[in-house]
């Protein structure tokens, strides 16, 4: 009897194995591309965006899946270049900065229209920025606009201090010592009137340059104080001079009208910054600054993004949105550059399971997938195919070190742990990433003289650890041990994700091998991890990932210019912050890069973190899908994307990124 059961189980198992084997071999043919390559009949792009979009209100979400949808629906003054991500003209047809990059003027094209046919004007931009920064909207990205004059004050619901008799406001420069570096990380240097010099363009001499508002922007910055009484009192009482000056004054709320964004006329926008920001023109392509329709928002309130209500400024408009299933946008005939737009529709599919995404791609039901969608285990099969997209990414993986606790407060110990890691071997094992010896990603910012930190040096690592009082000795079998190292005082903390586990296990092995120290690993759920990391509730090491907000080294280096925030190490050096400020006030690009690089060197020498790798772009797109490039931030201006039916014009391999 029992033999019957065995027979049957065996039979079933064998049949299953046979079936799976046949299936596998059927799919493992030596093909040029991964799966089907029949172009869709209509010009419809089917694209996997990643997680379900939180909202289609552009200032609301900070995620990549949403950013790509925003880029279809909304346009900004400028747009990202599809390859380099440099700002290119969009609703503004030209723009220029003043000499010291503290003021930017954008000239809007006169034929830009909303999807309902209404003209897009400079006032719309002013509204967009005021809305994005209003405390009531509570945008999570608002800090990206903090370079704009009084933006931080407005967004933080701060107040000015006014003398009711003279109508004069207290000025910041008179009370500068009242500003603690943590609360006001940005320098608030005066621009000073008279410095203003525009690039002269023929058709429009700068007769528009001087307005009452403009003079306000260029007057010495007013003092701003927290609206919250408790915090304000604390701030005022800390500064006797300020306390004395407060008597008999009234508080005036900083309003949207105080923001440094001005519509000089219907088609000219002027943005005044609180400090010099040479990278600002690239920043205005961010979704936070993309035009949203005032009339529609005021008419429908929270429901303005509903399919029937939404009016858009971009190349596409919303057709329908079925959450967790698809979000479909269709060509916007009112778009100023509609003639260029070839796609009739884009269907965004929210999916986050990588194998499921790749399956859908293989059978030809999607035309391209989001970045990082090729699982590591699939690389051997997918990477040799001609539709695999590879490229450097403006993102890094690094290790934070909590420098506030022993033994990691000792620079020698930090250096020892950093030098014990063979990043080149690690990158080889990971196959697509590049080893990183600095804090800015490698090969992203052309012309940036990136400094190099220390590389793999086991001998030196052991020596340094010995000097710090933790002697590393070699055992009889050739392995190392560090007897008196307080292993209980360190750990490696990361959020549960297979890629993090790979890093963690590699580092653990390296440290064990080189230093004889077994660092305990602790993995936790994402949000729990973020709290533990950012509140420095970890000992030793924690994983860090950072992707560029805009294409400038400062988006990385700025992290360590303040305490807290993404700087989850407890390290702060005023000298470093000052060096960055100095660099950002430098007009010459090469000189500025050099100063930034010098600051980066200081950071690397202080070693509050260990850089590990520059991430790599990693996705697949069908060869017939043209105009979509594996750029460093995985952002695609969709109006350039089209479906090519002539096979001789298909992409075989990564499209040329240089031209």
């Amino acid at each position: 009897m029992i033999s019957h059961t065995k027979e049957l189980v065996l039979g079933t198992t064998l049949a299953t194995i046979a079936f799976v084997t046949i299936a596998c071999s059927a799919s493992a043919k030596n093909e040029v591309f991964f799966g089907k390559t029949t172009p869709p009949e209509r010009n419809i792009l089917r694209y996997v965006t990643g997680d379900e979009p939180e909202s289609i209100d552009p200032p609301v979400s900070s995620g990549q899946p949403e950013a790509r949808i925003y880029m279809a629906l909304y346009e900004g003054l400028v747009e990202y270049h599809p390859k380099t991500l440099e700002p290119i003209p969009a609703i503004a047809d030209r723009f220029h900065a003043n000499k010291d990059s503290s003021e930017f003027v954008f000239h809007l094209r006169k034929n830009a229209r909303w999807s309902n046919g209404d003209p897009i004007t400079a006032q719309d931009f002013v509204y967009t920025v005021r809305r994005a920064l209003s405390p009531k909207l509570a945008s999570r990205n608002a800090s990206l606009a903090y370079d704009i004059r009084y933006a931080q004050a407005y967004n933080s619901a701060a107040v000015f201090v006014k003398d009711p008799v003279t109508n004069q406001f207290l000025l910041e420069e008179d009370f500068t010592d009242a500003v603690p570096p943590e609360a006001e990380p940005l320098s608030q240097k005066s621009i000073g009137a008279g410095e203003l010099e525009y690039e002269i363009t023929d058709e429009e001499p700068q007769q528009d340059a001087d307005t009452a508002f403009h003079r306000f922007m260029h007057s010495p910055p007013r003092l701003t104080l927290p609206a919250d009484e408790k915090r304000r009192t604390a701030r005022v009482s800390a500064n006797p001079k300020l306390q004395a000056a407060m008597a008999g004054k009234e508080l005036v709320k900083v309003s949207g009208e105080d923001l440094g964004v001005e519509a000089i006329d219907d088609y000219t926008v002027r943005i005044s910054l609180a400090q010099r920001a040479p990278f600002f023109s690239g920043l205005v392509a961010h979704p936070l600054f993309r035009f949203v329709p005032r009339q529609i928002i005021e008419k429908f309130g929270d429901r303005w993004t509903d399919a029937g209500n939404l009016v858009t400024s971009g190349a596409f408009k919303l057709k329908h949105w079925k959450p967790y299933h698809e979000l479909v946008v269709e060509r916007n005939p009112m778009y100023w550059d509609a003639a260029r737009v070839q796609l009739e529709e884009i269907r965004f599919y929210p999916m986050s399971d990588n194998p499921a995404i790749m399956n859908l791609y293989k059978v030809g039901e999607v035309d391209a997938t989001l970045n990082h969608s090729v699982p590591n285990a699939w690389l051997d099969v997918v990477r040799p195919k001609k539709d695999y997209m590879d490229g450097a990414e403006a993102a890094i993986v690094y290790i934070n070190i909590n420098v506030t606790k022993a033994p990691m407060n000792d620079l020698r110990v930090r250096r020892a742990f950093a030098m014990a890691i063979d990043k080149i071997t690690y990158a080889k094992a990971r196959r697509i990433t590049k080893p990183l010896f600095a804090f800015t990603p490698e090969g992203i910012f052309s012309g940036y003289p990136q400094p190099k930190g220390e590389g793999f040096d086991p001998e030196q690592a052991r020596k340094l650890l010995g000097e710090a009082g933790f002697a590393v000795t070699q055992r009889g079998d050739g392995t190392y041990e560090c007897k008196n190292f307080p292993v209980s005082e360190i750990e490696f903390v990361f959020n549960t994700a297979s890629s993090n586990k790979t890093v963690a296990e590699f580092l653990q092995a390296q440290w064990k091998q080189t230093l004889g120290v077994t660092v305990p690993l602790r993995s936790m759920e994402f949000k729990t991890f973020m709290v533990v990391r950012n509140k420095l509730e970890y000992k030793g090491f924690s994983i860090g990932l950072w992707g560029a907000d805009y294409m400038d080294p400062f988006t990385f280096l700025g992290i360590f210019s303040t305490v807290g925030g993404t700087n989850a190490t407890g390290w702060f050096d005023q000298k470093y912050a000052d060096m960055l400020n100095e660099a950002n006030s430098t007009l010459d690009k090469a000189k500025r890069y050099e100063l930034l690089a010098r600051a980066e060197k200081l950071l690397l020498d202080a070693q509050p973190m260990i850089p590990i790798e520059t991430s790599a772009v990693n996705f697949v797109k069908k060869p017939y899908l043209k105009g979509m490039y594996p750029n460093a931030a995985s952002l695609y201006p969709w109006k350039f994307v089209y479906i090519e039916r002539d096979t001789s014009k298909w992409d075989y391999g990564i499209p040329n990124m240089a031209e």
Partner: protein
């Protein structure tokens, strides 16, 4: 009509217990969410204090806990309104449940019907032909069904039917009837099929040996009538009590299958809501699942009374 009256009294009694149970479930959930570190806006890029303050003020998260609790409970009790999702701006929890329930229910009900059909058939055959090849064959298959988790079975089915032979779509939702539903339904139903087959077999075996079957046989009924009218009715009792929780579970979504096949069902939302710390959505879905579970159990008890002449309320 004392039977019906008793039944009504029983139902009312059960409903009276149900309401406080659900309120307790909601309260515990509400408390547990507060114990979890992080917030719905916690992300890779930590927020400046001022922005965090704007957000907490916008959603009333800065209010004292008892005010927040009272507000949540009041809205639920008074309007059956679970509020708006924190993560998915402007989407109401009630709307999300109303939209995703049909997806989960379609897959769940189809899977359960398939499981009943296959499971009862194989289970009965196994019982009637006890210790035969049929019996061992079905039970071996059932064992395989129970042992292979759906996150293994699903990809294998996809590999064979979608990626190799391009017969069926590998994922994504389409309303019933559609080819898109075939793989997820089979994947989901496998384990239930197996359980039902085993339960049916066990139940039938017990009943077939009981006195009333012997009586039925001795009355001279045909074997067919004995099985269909008497044995099956008694033998399916274990399946019925299994159906309540199983159906409640299937209706409210199955995370793994919905993720594997990218289906916009309730299960997907549930797991994401927890990971997102989306308080109103978590509470809404937990309450909904609790209600479904309690209702299903009530229906099972009523079905018992109908199926088993010995049970009276």
């Amino acid at each position: 009509m004392p039977v019906l009256q008793n039944m009504l009294r029983f139902i009312i009694r059960r409903l009276l217990v149900t309401v406080p149970t659900i309120l307790i479930v909601i309260t515990i959930t509400w408390g547990l969410i507060r114990l979890a570190p992080g917030n719905f806006y916690t992300s890779e890029k930590p927020l400046p204090a001022a922005i965090e303050k704007n957000i907490t003020e916008k959603y009333g998260l800065n209010l004292p806990w008892h005010v927040q609790y009272r507000r949540t409970m009041w809205n639920i009790l008074r309007h059956l309104d679970f509020g708006n999702s924190l993560k998915y701006e402007g989407q109401s929890v009630n709307g999300i449940i109303a939209r995703s329930l049909p997806v989960s229910a379609t897959i769940g009900v189809l899977a359960y019907l398939l499981a009943l059909l296959v499971g009862i058939t194989f289970g009965s055959i196994a019982a009637l032909k006890q210790n035969s090849r049929w019996d061992y064959g079905s039970m071996a298959l059932a064992m395989v069904g129970i042992s292979i988790p759906n996150f293994v079975l699903g990809p294998i089915l996809v590999l064979i039917f979608s990626l190799s032979f391009y017969w069926l779509p590998p994922s994504r939702w389409a309303a019933f009837p559609s080819r898109n539903l075939i793989l997820p339904v089979i994947t989901l139903s496998a384990i239930y099929m197996a359980y039902i087959a085993r339960l049916t077999r066990a139940g039938m075996l017990e009943v077939l040996r009981s006195d009333y079957i012997r009586t039925a046989r001795s009355k001279g009924l045909s074997e067919r009538q004995v099985v269909l009218r008497h044995a099956l009715r008694g033998g399916l009792m274990p399946v019925v009590s299994f159906t309540g929780p199983a159906l409640a579970f299937l209706l409210t979504g199955t995370v793994v299958v919905e993720r594997l096949f990218a289906l916009p069902g309730l299960g997907n939302y549930f797991i994401q809501a927890a990971l997102n710390r989306d308080e109103p959505l978590i509470i809404g879905i937990v309450a909904f699942i609790a209600i479904t579970l309690l209702t299903m159990n009530l229906l099972v008890d009523i079905a018992y009374a109908y199926l088993d002449p010995r049970i009276r309320y």
